[in-house]
Amino acid sequence: MVISEGEIWELLEGVFDPEVPVLSVVDLGIIRSVSIEKQSVYITITPTYIGCPAMQTIEKDIESRFADSKINNYKITTSISPAWTTDWMSKKGREKLKAYGIAPPQNEPDKSSLFAHPVIVPCPLCDSDDTKMISQFGSTACKGHYQCNKCKEPFDYFKCFR
């Protein structure tokens, strides 16, 4: 069977983050490369957060997706450098996050400046800018916990990571 790199990317569009099931691994920006050599598929993925338990599930999901498509010759390599950043998340992914009720990453200044004023995160539900941070750490490593002062709804914020 001859398969193209484009078809592999398409297949990967159908593998989703188990914790944020609207985002595909392609939207998330963790697929760093896809290549085909001598009918073998080579994929490089990069972890979001090192300790993120979703990474193992994602790798297994890619494997079963390949098995479903009768792709047997492949190698998945994990690379940590260059380190993943939310800047690699696709525009489509950001829109899907918001529609799902998670505020997408905002353009934040470098975290190493302590006590900088927290960035404004618009409410994904009512679009108000009047929101507050409840905690920098939320239900998963990639999310913070916010609340909207206008509609009062709590929401997750996919933290800017760079």
């Binding site: 972890p47 957060y49 090192i50 300790g51 993120c52 338990p53 940590i80 450098s81 260059p82 380190a83 950043t85 470098d110 975290k111 190493s112 302590l114 006590f115 409840i134 905690s135 920098q136 750490f137 939320g138 239900s139 490593a141 916990h145 933290k159 990571f161 760079r162």
Partner: protein, 252 residues
Amino acid sequence: MTTKEALYKYVLRLGDDSLILGQRLSELCGHGPILEEDIATTNISLDLIGQATLFLEYAGSLSNEFKTNDELAFLRLEKDYLNVLLVEQPNGHFGDTIMRQFLFDAFRLPLLTKLQDSKDNTLSSIAEKALKETKYHLRHSSEWVVRLGDGTEESHHKIQESLNTLYRYSHELFFVDEADVLLQQEAIIPELDDIKSQWSQTIKDVLEMATLSLPTNNWKFEGGRMGRHSEHMGYLLAEMQYMQRTYPNMEW
């Protein structure tokens, strides 16, 4: 001592710092003082254990005795762990947990920043990755030091006591022996002078905002870097190693 032996020791030291502090923080899972902090401390724990995974995986590739990161994490004896004494200190009350974290994070941030320039590609990649998470950790611990220090009379008193106790362990973060010197000469790891001055500046700035003062007592504890641990370490290891010792080679 060869470069490889020195590197093994150094990578173990960094990995053990992450592992043991990660293990300590994981004890708070379900026991945090408030829900948000329960989640925050366990998130930080997860990040640290993730860092330990990378460091110990690398250490395993440099070792003749231990092959995998799991073997290194779970099957060594107490004297073979090389973490600083600071990270094995008990969680105590929340002020103790936060102060221990703050002293550590304030060191890790400049260390990892410099380590990105390491001539060793694996070390520089791990540093690059871990640095991003560490920025969040330092911000979190700093904010709590200020909130507790500049909070009520009771919270101020309690975290000042935490500082008085834990500051004596912070000196060991700057421990240097022949392994470090060798690696510094080969530009594999950074010199500590700049890192120490950045650390001192962060401590000074945050303590000032928190209305806290550095203890005048100059007593310093060390030993962890050479495998000599405090009485708390055995209990921590007993819990951490239990599953692997009881069911050898088990995997999740």
